[in-house]
Amino acid sequence: MRRSDYLIKRAAFAIITVFVAITINFFLFRVLPGDAVRNLSRVPRASNELVNALKEQFGLDEPLWQQYVIYLNQLLHGNMGISFSNQQPVSENLKEALANTIPMAATGTVVAIIIGVSTGVFSAWRRGSKLDQVSTNAAIAFYSFPTQWLALVILIYLSPWFPSHGMSDPFLIDPTPWEHFVDVARHMFLPSLTFALTLYGEYTLIVRSAMLETLGEDYVLTARAKGLPQRRIVTRHAFRNALLPTTTLIALSLGYIVAGAILIETVFSWPGIGNAVYQAVTERDYPMLQGAFLVLTISVVFFNFIADVLYFKLDPRITE
């Protein structure tokens, strides 16, 4: 198969996946028990008419298939709808939430990659040593801790030194750009740390096993026989080949950044996409849920696609 054929096939597959996900998302939330207007209409001074007024306004009085057609049509025109609960465009709500999530989650992920890859390589290199044992056990432990539990423990023990909620100190008066940066970085510390700790263990374990596999290959033995220095064998010969599974893992986990944010953002009251999803679920805010899940789907599919492309680049055998 030629390179372009491969890419076209992967891209087409990605697009179909997104479409299927859009459809499933639409019906999924509507088969959930509980309806959207009930929550909004439980207001002490409201009249009984509010329920009907809301249903009509949100188009919930139309048949389901018609709502679906309207939704698809609007989506193709780039309109994600209006949030039921705050009456603002979903795209605005999501843009704002995503802009808050990405710096925090990306920092956590990058730190996780750095720690995970280096401890993984080191563990494989010094296999069986005390350090390998400590590092591997720590990785397994952090990998298996429930995210929200770890987040709470971090919050309780570290919050005297770092802010435990929100993105910035609203009472900081006219900060210079540097002061503002420091303030946001301090707020980001605990959630990003949690993010990094929950992610890194998996990286360590995968990198370690990939490395062990390549370290046992004949070409590594050859390199040793040639008398190459140990460091060179590890970095040039073994690590490059161990990169393959690692890349896939990283690309895939990038796609789940947004999803992984839900628990962490809830604990640290971070005003990002995870928080928005949580709120939308409790309020049965269908347009927000559809929008947020669309973003989730697209990010997962997109990074899968990137992983495919990278794979292709890293390992030419795939085309054969």
Binding site: R45, A46, N86, L152, S159, G166, P170, D174
Partner: protein
């Protein structure tokens, strides 16, 4: 719409000066000995409910209502320092209701202005209610309750408003008095273009939201913070603080930690489990009556209830005898609750009278008595100890919405154990709040067996009394209770202008509901708020230190 500003904080000059000043005085440990506390400073309040929208026709959280109370004028307020919540002058200095209850007159503060300099007078009040009235079935349905039976409202002078009703209006002062007055310069164009609900009503371009209350909203970030500064052009007594911030927490433990580590100054409502932690950390914890009740609900809709024995009031009475309320108070609520009796909670008092009937006492915990009643009805116990009624075991599903989790779970287990001793088995059906309602009501009928839920009644008892009326079938009514007798009394109390007369009817309704037992009221909550000892002067209420009853709390709070 303009994208909201990134967190480059812009704060107005008075606040800057104030914060510097407060930082200086704060480090010296505060005054204390002089009695007079320091003025100024910015108060940081934590809340776990958060704002849904700043638009009064969209937002529905308790905090939304409290924000409107602080940023918009209201004709009247409730004086929460008095035990019966007497009316307090707001934008109206004087008010009166004609003897027949058909006419209400308000005299407003002369020379008031909105924060943008536009005059604030009787015309604005008239505008607000006429707008609500005009769109009551659509865009303004959320406040339609404040214009029920209102026939006309007009400004007979710059500062005089006269409202007339088509029948005696017992709740007129509450309906008109406690509704936010909105600036016509903002809302008139929106009403004309049917954009009332679409309007975000948020500060834009560094300008505060046009308001007329003691505080102005200067900054708002969804799910994060809302910032307020004192309104220099406010017509009433100006606040002592320069401003306050509301910070939203998704996680209660994180919020408690924030108060302990000086990242917050006060928390509006803490869970009972946090009381000891905060007290031992040196925080002030307020405890008082709350407008909140927890109830066991019976489906009494004769066409929807599939278990005929539950429609028998004697069975429900037996079940009440099997509930150990004191154990629920002590174990589930750690003592921060009181045994419940009627649908109007203790502490619900306005207009100089208490609406809760103290003479109605819950049935005592008496397993023998409960068994005696069920035996007399012929429901014999089977070999497994569970009674049989009409050929079926007395085992019932209890719809349990997740917002009752925690204390509610513990309460459920206590009830379950009590019922076991009378040969009745309960199965908890945990559902999220939206799903719970769906499990209870379907296609015009109530379809559940039992449920456990809560009510947070409004200041005026009218609302909580309404939930048992036929008119609320499928809406607020969650039991299927519907009788002419109760409905007639409901209408009668609404038209009773004399508070004493209304009280008599409200007591009668409580007795009626208590005897019919569509609900067993388990407990009334205690209100718990906490703040740092660096601050003093909060005015607590049945809705806490940040409430929509009055602006007293945050206009009198100051640094210790």
């Amino acid at each position: 719409m303009e994208p909201r500003r990134r967190p480059v904080m812009h704060f107005v000059l008075p606040l800057v000066l104030a914060l510097v000043a407060s930082a200086c005085s704060g480090s010296s440990g505060g005054g204390g000995d002089g009695g007079e506390g320091a003025e100024g400073g910015v108060l940081r309040i934590g809340t776990s409910s958060g704002l849904t929208s700043l638009n009064p026709f969209v937002g529905f959280n308790q905090d939304d209502y409290a924000v409107w109370m602080y940023i918009y004028p209201s004709l009247l307020m409730y004086d929460t320092t008095t035990p019966t919540y007497d009316f307090l002058p707001g934008f109206a200095q004087e008010w009166s209701q004609s003897e027949d209850g058909m006419t209400v007159t308000f005299e407003t503060v002369p020379g008031a202005t909105w924060s943008d300099g536009e005059p604030l007078d009787a015309e604005d009040v008239v505008f607000t209610f006429e707008m609500i009235k005009e769109y009551e079935k659509t865009q303004t349905a959320q406040w339609a309750g404040s214009v029920t039976f209102l026939e006309t409202i007009e400004a007979t002078g710059e500062n005089t408003i006269v409202a007339t009703y088509d029948r005696p209006a017992g709740t007129a002062l509450y309906d008109l008095g406690l509704t936010p007055i909105l600036p016509p310069q903002v809302w008139e164009p929106l009403a004309a273009s049917k954009e009332i609900r679409r309007f975000p009503n948020e500060p834009e371009g560094g300008e505060p939201l046009v308001g007329g209350g003691p505080f102005l909203l200067t900054e708002y970030r969804k799910n994060d913070i809302a910032l307020f500064e004192a309104n220099p052009s406010y017509y009433g007594t100006k606040p002592l603080i320069d401003g306050f911030g509301l910070q939203f927490f998704r996680d209660e433990d994180a919020m408690i930690t924030a108060l302990k580590t000086d990242q917050l100054d006060a928390i509006n409502e803490i869970p009972p489990t946090a009381v000891e932690t905060l007290r031992s950390a040196g925080m002030e914890v307020y405890e008082g009556p709350a407008l909140a009740l927890r109830d066991l609900i019976f489906n009494v809709d004769p066409e929807g209830q599939q278990r005929p024995e539950l429609l028998d009031p004697r069975v429900r009475e037996a079940m009440e005898y099997a509930i150990d309320r004191q154990a629920i108070v002590d174990t589930a609520w750690l003592g921060f609750a009181t045994p419940g009796s009627t649908i109007v909670p203790e502490g619900n008092a306005t207009q100089g009278v208490s609406w809760h009937d103290d003479d109605i006492q819950p049935l005592p915990y008496d397993i023998a008595k409960a068994n005696e009643i069920l035996d007399s009805l012929g429901y014999a116990k089977g070999s497994d100890g569970i009674r049989v009624a009409d050929g079926e075991q007395m085992e019932y599903e209890v719809v349990f919405p997740l917002d009752e989790a925690g204390a509610g779970d513990r309460a459920f287990r206590i009830i379950q154990q009590g019922f076991e001793q009378i040969g009745v088995r309960l199965v908890q059906q945990r559902l999220d709040t939206n799903a719970a309602w769906n499990a209870m009501y379907d296609k015009g009928h109530y379809v559940f067996e039992l449920a456990m839920w809560d009510w947070f009644p409004a200041a005026d008892p009218d609302f909580i009394l309404a939930v048992l009326t036929c008119d609320q079938w499928g809406n607020w009514n969650d039991t299927g209770y519907c009788t002419d007798e109760y409905d007639d009394l409901y209408t009668e109390q609404k038209e009773a202008v004399d508070p004493q007369e209304r009280q008599r009817i409200v007591f009668e309704m409580q007795q009626l509901a208590f005897d019919a037992r569509p609900y067993i009221i388990l407990t009334y909550d205690r209100r718990l708020d906490a703040w740092s000892k660096d601050w003093t002067g909060f005015v607590p209420s049945t809705q806490g230190i940040f409430n929509n009853f009055s602006t007293q709390s945050l206009t009198s709070v100051h640094q210790a």
